[in-house]
C-alpha cells in the first residue's frame, strides 16, 4: 500500500488523459449528430476521398520513416564512436532544434522553400535551377523528416551506446568481417532502439496535419487534414471521431507488424 500510493497520479493520468478521451472518441465515432448508433462514420473510410487520403498518409509516413532510419542509423554509429559523441555534445547539438516549437520550424521551411524564398534566391545567385518542391508531397516528406528525425536518432543512439565493446571485439576476433559485425551483431542488438525510433517517427507522420497544411499548401490532403477539417471547419465531430478510430486501427496494425521484428520486446508499445 505504502508504495502503491505513488501510482495514484499515474492511474489518474491514464484514466483522465487516455481512457476517458478514448471512450468519448469511440462514442462520437459510432453515433450520428442526434446521438443514435451508426457505423457510417467508420465505414466512411471506404469512400474514395477518405481512403485516398489515408493511403497517401501511409505512403508519406513510410517514406519519411525509411529516410529517417537511413540517416539516423549511420549517424548513431558515428556518434557512438566519436569522442564528441561520448561527451554527448553531438547529440546535444542534434536535439537543440527541438527546443523550439516544431510548428515554428515547419513555418521556417515554408519561408525557405517558397518559390521566391530564401533557398531559391540563393540558387539564383549561384545560377542553379530553382528547387520547386513547395506545395508538393516532397516538401511534406522533407518537413516530416526534419521534424521527427531526432525521435529516430535518440533511441537508436541510446541502443548503440549500450552495446558492449567487447562483444564487437569478440566478433572480430572470431573472424567476422565488418559487414558481418554490422549485420549480425550491431544491428540485432540495436533493434529495440530502431523499433521505438520507427514508432516515434511513423505514428506522428501518419497523423500530422500541420506539416501537410503548411508545406503542402493545402494541395496535399492527408487523412489528418480531413479529420482536422471535420472538427474545426465542418463541425462534424462524429465523422472526425469515426475516421480517427479507423486511423488508430491502422496504427495498431503497423505497430503489431513492427513488433514482430522486435524479439526482445524492449521497444514495443503494445
Amino acid at each position: 500500500m505504502s508504495r502503491r500510493i505513488f501510482s495514484g497520479p499515474f492511474l489518474l493520468f491514464i484514466l483522465c488523459g487516455t481512457l476517458i478521451p478514448l471512450g468519448v472518441i469511440a462514442y462520437y465515432g459510432i453515433t450520428d449528430r442526434s446521438g443514435s448508433f451508426t457505423l457510417d462514420n467508420i465505414l466512411a473510410i471506404a469512400s474514395p476521398e477518405h481512403s485516398e487520403a489515408l493511403f497517401l498518409a501511409l505512403l508519406l509516413a513510410l517514406i519519411s520513416t525509411v529516410i529517417c532510419l537511413l540517416i539516423a542509423f549511420p549517424l548513431g554509429l558515428i556518434l557512438k564512436d566519436s569522442r564528441l559523441g561520448k561527451k554527448g555534445f553531438m547529440v546535444f547539438i542534434f536535439i537543440l532544434p527541438m527546443w523550439m516549437n516544431f510548428l515554428l520550424r515547419t513555418m521556417a521551411w515554408q519561408v525557405l522553400l517558397e518559390r521566391n524564398g530564401i533557398i531559391n534566391q540563393l540558387l539564383d545567385l549561384v545560377g542553379l535551377p530553382h528547387l520547386d518542391i513547395i506545395n508538393t508531397p516532397a516538401a511534406v516528406v522533407l518537413g516530416m523528416v526534419y521534424d521527427y528525425l531526432p525521435f529516430m536518432v535518440l533511441p537508436i543512439y541510446n541502443a548503440l551506446i549500450k552495446i558492449d565493446r567487447h562483444v564487437i571485439e569478440a566478433a572480430y576476433d572470431l573472424g567476422a568481417s565488418s559487414p558481418q559485425v554490422l549485420l549480425k551483431v550491431i544491428a540485432p542488438l540495436s533493434l529495440p532502439g530502431i523499433v521505438s525510433g520507427i514508432t516515434m517517427v511513423f505514428v506522428p507522420s501518419l497523423t500530422t496535419f500541420a506539416v501537410s497544411n503548411m508545406l503542402g499548401g493545402g494541395k496535399v490532403n492527408l487523412i489528418g487534414n480531413i479529420i482536422e477539417q471535420e472538427f474545426t471547419v465542418s463541425s462534424n465531430w462524429n465523422l472526425g471521431a469515426g475516421l480517427s478510430l479507423v486511423m488508430m486501427i491502422f496504427i495498431v496494425i503497423s505497430m503489431a507488424l513492427i513488433e514482430k521484428f522486435d524479439k526482445n520486446g524492449e521497444g514495443n508499445v503494445l
Partner: protein
C-alpha cells in the same frame, strides 16, 4: 481492493483541491470581471487595459481560431463568457438556437456610430439587428502583382486563365472557394442545391491545376514575397500587403463577392451583461475604432472614422456592395454537403 482505494484517494485529492480553487471566486469578483471570447489578435491589446482603467472591470480574454471551434464552447456553456466575437453566419446560427441574448442598445449609446452601409448586411443575418454589433467587416477580392499580371483584372474569370498556371493562391476554406464559383455561375453563395454544388465543384476542379497553393493567413506573405501572381484574399490584408510590396493591387471582381462581418454578441448564458454592454459600447467608440483600425488594418464600420477608411477597397461604393452577398448558416446538412464535395475537390 487496494488499487481501488488508491484511485479513490487520488480522485478525492484531485476534487478537493479543485473545489478549494473554485471556492476562491467570490460573487463580488464575478461582478467585476468580464470574460471575453474572441478571435486571436482581433483588437489592439492596449485597449484591454484602457477599458479596465476606464470602467474598473477586470478583463479576461480567451481566444479561438475559427467560429466552429467557438461554437461548441458556447453551445455546451462549458465556460461562462460575457461577450463573444463571431462571424455573420455564426451569429445567425447561435441566435436561431437561442444561444444569444438580445442586446439592449439603450445601454450602448455608441451604437449610433455604426456605419449605414453595413446595416443591410447585418439585417441579412440578424434581422432587426437585435443580437450583434459589428466589429470589423470586409470583402473578398483578387490581390495581384502588377509586375506579373499584364491583363486587366476585373473578373473572377482570370483565376481560370491558363497563362497564370501555378501562379494563383486560392483560399483554403470551403465557403470562400465555392463563393467564387457561385458568382461565376450566377448562383447564390448560400445554395444547398446538390446539383448546383456539383456544378460549382466541377468548375473549381477545372481550375485546380492552376493553383500554386491554398492559403488563408499566409496568402499575403506569399504575395509580398513575389511568389505568386494573384491571390484571393480579404480586403483587410490590403493595406498591410501594399506597405511591404508596392506592386500589389486589389480588385473586387465585377461579378460581385462576399461581404463578411465579424460582430460582438452576448451569449444567453452571460453572467455579467452590464460589463458586456460596456465592452461593446467601448469598442464602438470612435477613437477606439481608430486604434483598432490602425492595429488591424481591417475596415471598421464606424461613422467616426469614415474619412480614415476612405480607401475604396476597405469601404466599397454602393454599386459594388449592391452586387454582394453575405454567407448564411446552412445547417448541418448543408455543411455536410459542402464538406463532402470539398473533400472530393481536394482529392481530385
Amino acid at each position: 481492493m487496494k488499487k481501488l482505494l488508491t484511485v479513490a484517494l487520488a480522485l478525492l485529492l484531485c476534487f478537493t483541491s479543485l473545489a478549494a480553487c473554485g471556492g476562491g471566486d467570490g460573487k463580488a469578483d464575478a461582478e467585476k470581471t468580464l470574460y471575453v471570447y474572441c478571435f486571436g489578435d482581433y483588437f489592439d491589446p492596449e485597449l484591454q487595459y484602457q477599458f479596465e482603467e476606464e470602467t474598473g472591470y477586470k478583463v479576461v480574454v480567451d481566444l479561438f481560431d475559427t467560429n466552429e471551434e467557438m461554437y461548441p464552447v458556447i453551445k455546451n456553456n462549458s465556460a461562462d463568457y460575457d461577450v463573444i466575437c463571431a462571424s455573420d453566419y455564426m451569429i445567425e446560427r447561435l441566435s436561431s438556437e437561442g444561444l444569444l441574448a438580445e442586446i439592449n442598445f439603450d445601454n450602448i449609446p455608441n451604437a449610433a456610430n455604426i456605419a449605414d452601409n453595413i446595416k443591410p448586411f447585418i439585417e441579412d443575418f440578424d434581422p432587426g439587428m437585435k443580437y450583434s454589433a459589428p466589429h470589423t467587416w470586409g470583402t473578398y477580392g483578387i490581390m495581384y502583382n502588377k509586375s506579373m499580371v499584364d491583363d486587366p483584372v476585373d473578373s473572377w474569370e482570370i483565376l481560370w486563365d491558363e497563362k497564370y498556371a501555378d501562379q494563383i493562391v486560392m483560399p483554403n476554406s470551403i465557403r470562400e472557394c465555392y463563393m467564387i464559383a457561385a458568382r461565376l455561375l450566377g448562383y447564390s453563395m448560400n445554395t444547398v442545391d446538390e446539383n448546383q454544388i456539383k456544378e460549382m465543384t466541377d468548375l473549381l476542379i477545372e481550375q485546380k491545376d492552376l493553383v500554386y497553393s491554398f492559403a488563408n493567413d499566409n496568402a499575403r506573405e506569399i504575395m509580398i514575397g513575389d511568389s505568386a501572381a494573384m491571390a484571393v484574399i480579404t480586403s483587410g490584408e490590403v493595406i498591410y500587403s501594399k506597405e511591404y510590396n508596392e506592386n500589389l493591387e486589389f480588385v473586387i471582381p465585377k461579378e460581385g463577392t462576399e461581404v463578411w462581418t465579424d460582430c460582438w454578441a452576448i451569449p444567453a448564458a452571460a453572467k455579467n451583461v452590464k460589463a458586456a454592454e460596456a465592452w461593446i459600447n467601448f469598442m464602438l467608440d470612435g477613437s477606439v475604432a481608430e486604434t483598432n483600425f490602425e492595429y488591424l488594418t481591417y475596415a471598421i464600420p464606424n461613422k467616426e472614422i469614415a474619412d480614415l477608411v476612405d480607401e475604396p477597397v476597405l469601404n466599397p461604393s454602393a454599386e459594388v456592395l449592391a452586387n454582394c452577398e453575405t454567407l448564411h448558416n446552412l445547417g448541418a446538412e448543408g455543411d455536410d454537403l459542402y464538406s463532402e464535395y470539398w473533400k472530393m475537390y481536394k482529392a481530385d
